[in-house]
């Protein structure tokens, strides 16, 4: 790791000021991706702006029908939140299975979605639940937020402050973990609202994506059997030493069926 200047501002404005116009500055939330990258000397910020001192960014609350989770809320806190467990149990369940104990007590929801790792769990929930991402500048719809592998709609110096989740009728997440890293080889989040079914897939493609064929089939009949004749195009999916794209395509369908079954049980 290279040396850097460490800043821990206590207001959002101060954090934004530190990041503004400074190409060599990086914000750090839980640091679960950034710290290893810095240790490998692949990232070498001159200024590191720690967001953990900012007030009010780790709250979980209902605003009308919307569940609002502060960007700095740790995975373990989402998993343990009575409010999340009551209103959006699928999300609490997802959070309880991210990484390991250490990661869950350091990593944050805002950090996870801002990083947009193609195998991270939260992006699938945010996209499937049609959440809104509130930033220091604006509000971004989930469909517009995740751009590409490790790339989001965030502009330089723009920080996520909260994620707003509309509540579905039923929802569930199932993932098949990479045996080595335990990241998702394929993770499928299924959410059914009164008006639509949204299905988001993580781990399988270069970035989280919505599976439109699966959505259409489930919109007709929200049942695992509705997916039996559906397959997903493997050519767009990733291949590596753990899983080739054909296998990932299969896992997406298996996880989708299991997620639907789980959603039906919990619903």
């Amino acid at each position: 790791m290279r040396s850097f200047n460490y800043h821990k501002p206590d207001t959002l404005d101060a954090a934004l000021a530190l990041l503004s116009g400074n190409d060599e500055a990086l914000p750090i939330a839980g640091g679960m991706t950034l710290l290893p990258t810095m240790k490998q000397r692949l990232a070498a910020p001159e200024d590191l702006v720690d967001l953990s001192g900012l007030p009010g960014l780790a709250d979980v609350a209902m605003e009308g029908d919307i569940l609002v989770i502060g960007a700095m809320t740790r995975h373990a806190d989402v998993a343990a939140s009575p409010l999340v467990k009551e209103k959006l149990p699928a999300l609490a369940n997802l959070a309880s299975r991210i990484g390991d104990q250490q990661v869950r007590h350091r990593g944050t929801i805002g950090g996870s979605i801002s990083n947009n790792d193609p195998a991270a769990d939260y992006p699938a929930a945010v996209l499937a639940l049609n959440a809104e991402i509130v930033t220091s500048k604006r509000t971004i719809a989930a469909d517009d937020f995740f751009v590409a592998m490790f790339e989001t709609a965030l502009e330089p110096g723009e920080l996520v402050t909260a994620i707003r989740f509309p509540l579905p009728e039923v929802a569930a997440y199932m993932k098949f973990a990479n045996p080595a890293s335990r990241y998702a080889l394929a993770g499928v989040f299924v959410a059914k609202t009164t008006s639509a079914v949204r299905v988001a897939v993580t781990g399988a493609g270069p970035s989280v994506f919505r599976a439109s064929d699966i959505e259409a089939a489930l919109a007709e009949s929200f049942d695992a059997t509705a997916l039996e004749r559906i397959s997903i195009d493997a050519s767009e999916l990733m291949s590596d030493i753990h899983a080739d794209n054909e296998y990932r395509a299969n896992l997406v369908m298996v996880m989708a069926r299991r997620a639907v079954a789980l959603a039906q049980q919990s619903g």
Partner: protein, 795 residues
């Protein structure tokens, strides 16, 4: 507790008092005055010519004290890394042994090959400077696969090693085998791969070199399983430092598994650099660096055949193996797939003739050497897969075919056709007990229950034998060892009666401080607390060959036992003098010397005190002091063995294999500490299952990049991958070791891979699958299931 703790009890481990409190002292914990930090720049290419290396920018960086290249070491006449065990090929020629410079010059031959060594005040400075070194590589085509490396047009690693072939070695009588095959009723054959493994001990490699001008002595602190051997190899052959001018210390070491039983380039480089700079130099491998700085294990491709008569009795076996050496020969590299492999191919069976041919092959990969089990897991895997294959093809139950061919208990000692003579064992007894514990009888009910949930369930078996307690020096010498393989122990009795043992083995997780103390406590009747075990420092311990090959208790414990006997004899002499009796009348029992048939006696502690106050000793016949030393050279290997059952369930939708039950019954000879033995078996079994289900060192076939170069991609087994293991000993006594011990460190790793794959194949039996290569990872298994189902679906 201040009592005698003898053989067969399980006291808490002495060493854990410091380990569980975080008070161990590892190489990385050691700070020497004026110590500098070193970093290696490593090749990013698998195969390249080194046209030039420009270190000028790096040298100009803040804090940088030196930047060394291979040319610098060459100019200083530093030697190549030696091989400790040479082999002779089938034509009588010595193996090809190309030079292995500690830092590459002229050419790099694998990703991770050291190119330069940067020394600076701090590690950060050294890392920053290393990035400023400009290396002009002329990239050459690389070859990483065994079959590829032997092809006529394959890239050649060395100008003087044609076809990348280090040695074409053989063992056994090929004409007898050929004749048996001609007359066989059935021939079973198999092609298999033994996957490359990366050891990943919890503590990465580390080394500190230091030179003291006043005494002219060097010290190397290193993460080693055998400091005396490092002193010998590095001192004599690499750096030219006389033995009495070199101290090697291996303090607390966090796991070895064989990975730390080699002399590594980094040890020589830090020691040499310390001499050049006159200041201590420390190197600690980064976690990811360990994937290329540590020798790898296994990596075989094998074709094997078994000839049987019409009753399923084994007639002969023929094995052809390609073994990956990596880019250079590591310390024991060529010995592992030859002398520690082919002699185990008889397994626990009566096989009249065996022939084995091994081609040792250079590739553009990290050097391959011993890893827990070292050759013996590979042999067991071949034998057991072949036996399963034969059972399947002949329609014989796979347990039954083993029972038909096992060496009966009364046939020991049993001479195999491949050098070794097994002294003792009871494979059938192990198998029958294991069968009972594993509830083999109830398996079909469990299989049906799994099937009702859409899952495949399989039962696998492995019976194995291994050669441990390396090694009888005479035999090892005949097989090409370049040093003896005895062990030494000194028992130093202090005037108080407390004991310090100085032993040449090395404790890095095996519990030696406890087990060896139990032996001394048992023998001398000294309280367990009054015994210290010292190891790992060539300035304190007389000599030793270290710890590997399940040898510490077998060979080191034997030396300790013999030295203890000498102490008793000396104690009896002193007691005879003190009690005014003749030596013959002095008996020693339960820590007391007494005159037979009288109540005249002296405690061990009284005699120890008297040994150092010799006012009236008859000095011409009785020396003062109570300290004895013994060197023990075994007369044979020991042969632990056992029978393991694995039960797995496979989810056909995802291909994931879940281990449901595991049962192991092992013959490890006399057991000193049952808790430690159970721990060794647990660890070994889990490590073997790691190979069977999870671990895989993977190279890109074109670029030669290591694709499994971190824990993100190299799958280590974790606690949640395992059920509770069922383990029970079924011991016979070794006939030639002083305490009847056989060793237990490698049993699990040797027995378990074949049991797991046998279970996976059994689970997939409905699909007609005959063999599955390791690791049985989800994608691999799903592909097999899909391919097997496709023709059925097409009907």
């Amino acid at each position: 507790m201040n009592a005698v703790v003898g053989i067969g009890s399980s006291p808490k481990r002495k060493e854990d008092a410091r380990f569980v409190r975080g008070k161990g002292t590892y190489v990385a914990d050691i700070k020497r005055p004026g110590m500098l930090a070193g970093v290696f720049l490593r090749s990013e290419h698998a195969h390249a010519k080194l046209n030039s290396i420009d270190v000028s920018k790096a040298l100009a960086q803040p804090g940088v004290k030196a930047v060394y290249t291979g040319e610098d070491m060459k100019a200083d006449n530093v030697g190549g890394l030696p091989v400790g065990w040479g082999i002779t090929d089938k034509h009588g020629d010595p193996m090809k042994e190309p030079p292995h410079p500690p830092i590459a010059h002229d050419k790099v031959r694998y990703v991770g090959d050291a190119v330069a060594f940067v020394v600076a005040d701090t590690i950060e400075q050294a890392q920053a400077a290393a990035e400023m070194i400009e290396v002009d590589y002329e990239v050459l085509p690389a070859v990483v696969g065994l079959v590829d490396a032997l092809r006529p047009n394959a890239p050649q690693l060395y100008d003087d090693v044609p076809n990348n072939l280090c040695a074409d070695w053989e063992l056994g009588n090929s004409s007898a085998v050929d004749a048996a095959f001609e007359n066989a009723a059935h021939v079973a054959s198999i092609e298999l791969v033994n996957n490359r493994l990366i050891g990943n001990p919890l503590e990465p490699l580390a080394a500190i070199g230091e030179f003291e001008f006043a005494s002219g002595r060097y010290t190397l602190w290193t993460t080693s399983q055998f400091p005396h051997v490092v002193r010998l190899l590095m001192g004599e052959m690499v750096l030219g430092i006389p033995q009495h001018k070199l101290r090697v210390v291996a303090p607390d070491v966090g796991g070895g598994f064989g990975v730390k039983q080699f002399h590594y380039a980094e040890e020589a480089v830090v020691t040499w650099a310390a001499g050049k700079l006159g200041r201590p130099v420390k190197w600690v491998a980064q976690r990811s660096e360990g994937f290329v700085s540590d020798a790898h294990g296994r990596d075989h491709v094998t074709e094997a055949e078994l000839a049987l008569d019409e009753d399923g009795k084994f007639l002969a076996m023929r094995v052809k193996t390609l073994a990956n050496m990596g880019a250079y020969l590591s310390t024991f590299g060529p010995n592992i797939p030859t002398n520690l492999y082919a002699p185990l191919l008889s397994g626990v069976y009566q096989i009249p003739s065996i022939y084995c041919e091994v081609k040792c092959v250079f590739t553009n990969t990290v050097p391959v050497d011993a890893y827990r089990g070292a050759g013996r897991p590979e042999a067991t895997f071949v034998v057991e897969r072949l036996v399963d294959m034969a059972a399947r093809e002949m329609g014989i139950d796979k347990i039954d075919i083993r029972k038909r061919n096992m060496i009966p208990k009364e046939a020991y000692p049993y001479q195999t056709p491949v050098i070794v003579e097994y002294d003792s064992g009871d494979p059938l007894g192990c198998l029958e007990r294991s069968e009972e514990l594993a509830d083999v009888a109830g398996f079909e009910v469990r299989r049906a229950e799994s099937a009702s949930r859409g899952k495949y369930r399989g039962l696998g078996i492995s019976t194995y034998i291994e050669a441990c307690g390396l090694a009888p020096s005479r035999l090892a010498g005949q097989l090409g060892a370049r040093g003896g393989l005895y062990e030494s122990a000194t028992v130093r009795v202090h005037p108080s009666g407390a004991v310090t043992v100085l032993i040449g083995t090395h404790n890095h997780g095996q519990g030696h401080e406890t087990t060896f103390a139990q032996i001394v406590s048992d023998r001398l009747g000294v309280p367990f607390e009054d015994i210290d075990i010292v190891f790992g420092d060539t300035d304190r311990v007389q000599f030793g060959m270290g710890t590997y090959g399940s040898r510490s208790l077998v060979v080191g414990g034997a030396a300790l036992s013999q030295a203890s006997d000498k102490v008793i004899l000396k104690g009896r002499k002193i007691a005879a003098h003190q009690l005014e009796a003749s030596l013959e009348d002095i008996v020693f029992e339960d820590g007391t010397f007494s005159v037979a048939g009288t109540d005249r006696k002296k405690s061990f502690q009284e005699i120890a005190g008297a040994a150092y106050v010799p006012f009236d000793f008859p000095l011409e016949t009785l020396e003062p002091g109570l300290e004895e030393q013994s060197y023990y050279d075994p007369v044979n290997f020991t042969y632990p063995g056992g029978a393991h059952f694995a039960e797995v369930e496979i989810d056909p939708d995802t291909g994931i294999v879940t281990l449901e039950r595991y049962t192991a019954v092992d013959d490890v000879g006399t057991i000193i500490n049952p808790m430690i033995v159970e721990g060794q078996l647990h660890g070994g079994i889990v490590q073997g299952i790691g190979q069977a289900l999870f671990e895989h060192g993977v190279y890109d076939p074109t670029s030669g990049q290591l694709l499994s170069g971190s824990f993100m991609d190299y799958c280590m087994p974790r606690a949640d991958n395992f059920p509770q293991l069922v383990i029970e000993p079924h011991s016979t006594t070794c006939t030639h070791t002083p305490m009847g011990v056989k060793g237990c460190g490698e049993c699990g790793t040797i027995g378990s891979p074949a049991a797991i794959i046998s279970a996976v194949v059994d689970a997939l039996k409905p699909l007609g699958i005959a063999h599955v290569d390791m690791p049985a990872s989800p994608n691999h298994i799903w592909n097999i299931i899909r391919n097997a189902r496709t023709p059925v679906a097409a009907e």
